[in-house]
Structure formats: C-alpha cells, structure tokens
C-alpha cells in the first residue's frame, strides 16, 4: 500500500527541497528577524493550560518567563507560525492526494508499540528541547544558518544520541529484510531447479 502511495506522487528531490526551504528560511529571517520554530509553541501551550487551571503556576520560574511580555503565552510569533505549519502540511498532502489517517512504522511492528514510543519519544524530545533552547528548527536550522556554534554542538549531539540508541529501535523502523532475500532465493531455487 505504501508503495502505491509513493508511486502515485513523487516527493521532491532533496536538493531542490533544500534550496526552496533555505530560500523560505532566508525570507522568514529577512521579514521577521527570526527563523523557524516549533517546540516553543508546545511549551507555551502547556504553560497557558496550567495557568488557566491555577494561577499559582505563575510562581514557576520557567512558566513566568512566558508571561513577561503578554498576558497570554500564546500571543507569540512562533505559535502563529506553528499553526501555519499544520495548515501547510495539510494543504500539501491534500493536493498531492496523500492525506490519509495512518501511523508510520515498519509493516510488522505492533501499533501499540509504535504509539508507546511515539509518546515516550515526544516526552524526551520536549525535555531535551527546553535544555537545548529549541529543536531541530529553532536551534538546528536557524542556528546553523546564522553560524551559531551552539547549533552545531546540538546537531552533532542529536545525531550521536540517535545513533547510539538506533539498534534498539530497528524493528520499529526497518522492514524485515529476510522477506526480500527469501523471495530471491526462491526464484534462484526455481531457476536452478
């Protein structure tokens, strides 16, 4: 099924995609004086939710920071931009005939396991993004494009962290390769026979 989807609409060449994305990133900086972001939106949403429940959350030093310039933590450039990302992803998927409710994983991996690791990974990524003051957008792309040393430290560490744990999650991402060679050997067997 996935093959059918990939066949019916091709994804952009990565270098072409990068040139378009880089030009858009430049325009974003040239207009707004800042680049892409995403993780901050979720920190702000959580902070706003907690303060709505109980104003004493404002005593938390980290949360208080989001209410320095406005009564509403969501009154922020990156929050609006993140809503745009959602709309943009939706528009592109619909126009490409790729909008479909489904998870992404290796075919044989269990759905429960996939959702468990998506949630757990999300929690880890959130805490990490607060320590790193951004994610792969706000710290990685923006920082590297503006020549920041910190962005390079973050990206190298991110890649190292992912590579170190990658053997533990191979089954979730990589389709069982024994399926393919078996077919080949069967074919060979027939040819030989």
């Amino acid at each position: 099924m996935e093959n059918e989807i990939v066949k019916c609409k091709k994804y952009w060449n990565p270098y072409v995609g990068g040139i378009v994305m880089g030009t858009l990133l430049f325009l974003t900086f040239a207009i707004a004086s800042q680049g892409y972001g995403a993780s901050g939106t979720f920190a702000r949403a959580t902070a706003q939710f907690l303060v709505n429940q109980d104003a004493s959350w404002l005593e938390n030093a980290y949360i208080a920071n989001y209410f320095k310039h406005s009564d509403n933590a969501l009154n922020n450039w990156t929050v609006i931009e993140t809503i745009g990302i959602l709309i943009g992803g939706f528009l592109s998927a619909v126009l490409a005939g790729r909008f479909i409710f489904r998870p992404d994983k290796a075919a044989s991996y269990s759905l429960t396991g996939r959702y468990f690791w998506a949630f757990t990974g999300g929690m880890v990524v959130a805490v990490a993004s607060r320590l790193a003051r951004g994610c792969t957008s706000g710290q990685g792309l923006d920082g590297m494009a503006t020549f920041s040393v910190g962005a390079w430290i973050f990206m190298f560490a991110t890649f190292a962290g992912a590579l170190l744990l990658s053997p533990l999650f191979k089954k979730q991402w990589v389709d069982d390769e024994q399926a393919a060679p078996k077919k080949v050997s069967l074919k060979e067997g027939l040819n030989n026979g």
């Binding site: 952009w12 990565p14 995609g17 040139i19 378009v20 994305m21 880089g22 858009l24 990133l25 430049f26 974003t28 900086f29 004086s33 892409y36 972001g37 993780s39 939106t41 979720f42 949403a45 902070a47 030093a61 980290y62 450039w77 609006i80 931009e81 745009g84 990302i85 959602l86 709309i87 943009g88 528009l91 592109s92 490409a96 992404d104 959702y115 998506a118 949630f119 990974g121 999300g122 990524v125 959130a126 805490v127 990490a128 993004s129 607060r130 320590l131 994610c135 792969t136 957008s137 706000g138 020549f147 920041s148 040393v149 430290i153 560490a157 991110t158 190292a160 962290g161 992912a162 990658s166």
Partner: protein, 201 residues
C-alpha cells in the same frame, strides 16, 4: 546605512500585526515544503539513523547553505544586518545533554516537533501521539525546572558564531558552514555505502 532595511521587523518597517500575518504565511510554506520533501513520515526521518535514506541530511544541509548564501549576498549588498538575526546563545553542556536526549527521543518517535506538526496535517496518527507526548514532556520540565535550572543555565558563552571561534568575519563562518555541510553529506553517503554493502537494495 540608509539601505540597511532587512530584517524588516527589527528595523521597524513592519507592524506587530503584519509580522504575525507573515508568521502564518511562512509557517504554511514551511509545512508545505516539509510535506513535499517527505519530512512528514517518521519512517523516512528515522531511516537516516540506519542509513536507509539520506534525504534528511541532504535537505537540512542544502537548506542551511542556501539560507546562509542569501544572508551573505544581501549583507554584501548592504541590505541586511546579519547581527540583527535572532541567534540562540551557546550553552555548551546543556546543548550536549539536550542534544543527546533529543536524538534519543527522535529515534524512539521518528519525529521532531516541526515535522510532527506537518505530519499531523497529513493525517499521521503517530504524529498526534508524539505531540501529546511533547505536551506531557513540557509539563515534566516545568516540574523539574527548579532542580535542573542551575545546569540548564550553565556554561553560557552568549551568542557565539563560528568566526568568533576560528577568527575572521561572517565570510569565514560562511565558508566553514559550506565545508561542514558538504562533508557531512559526503561522509554519510560513504557510510551508507559501507552499511549497505552486500545487501540487495
């Protein structure tokens, strides 16, 4: 100096409302390109760590080099003040630990926050679960913040650019960036070749 009009917002050429309007437009275009390049698929993103697909480093590298090239051209023309572009300060150890954790979370989840938002737009259910996890993780961080704030704010070197480290000016930084990104892509191509030797793909 009269020509120095970019960035528009910081130099007072744009109202706050107009800036928010452009935030939505730039977000939509970003999300659109993320979907068109396949960045809304956790399997493609995580495939990077198994050298199955190099789309992620190729796109990220090209994006950074393209944006930096525009910065340098517009700065050279005298139209852009690079120092006015928002750049996060460098906190060495928080970034090392934060990065290692971020990578661990990414190989578990297959998404980072931006790609998951675009992925949710395309109907990916695992992206939705991931983002719920992100919200929960933010809550955890607020709770533990009093205990980790000393570490989180340690080793702050301020805004530190590549040329502050290696000498020279923004042009030096640009050249280093191009060399780094190019070598990373080439190095990963080599690793993929080694990793997939003897496999029928």
């Amino acid at each position: 100096m009269d020509n120095l009009i970019l960035p528009l917002y910081r130099n007072g050429f744009l109202s706050s409302e107009a800036n928010f309007f452009f935030a939505l437009i730039m977000g939509i275009t970003f999300g659109f390109v993320l979907e068109r390049t396949g960045f809304t698929r956790s399997k493609l993103i995580s495939g990077t760590f198994y050298f199955k697909s190099l789309a992620v480093p190729k796109i990220m590298g090209t994006t950074v080099v393209t944006a930096a090239t525009w910065f340098i051209i517009f700065s050279w023309l005298g139209w852009l003040d690079i120092s006015q572009l928002y750049t996060p300060a460098t906190y060495v150890w928080p970034y090392v630990v934060g990065g290692l954790m971020f990578g661990a979370g990414m190989v578990m989840a297959g998404y980072c926050p931006g790609t998951a938002v675009a992925g949710l737009g395309t109907g990916k259910t695992d992206a939705l679960v991931f983002l719920l996890g992100v919200l929960a993780g933010m809550f955890v961080y607020f709770i533990i913040y009093p205990y980790v704030s000393d570490f989180a704010n340690s080793s702050n070197l301020g805004v530190l650019k590549l040329h502050d480290l290696f000498g020279g000016n923004e042009y030096t930084s640009f050249i280093i960036t191009v060399i780094l990104e190019t070598s990373i892509i080439l190095f990963m191509m080599l690793l993929r070749k080694i990793a997939n030797t003897g496999k029928t793909v």
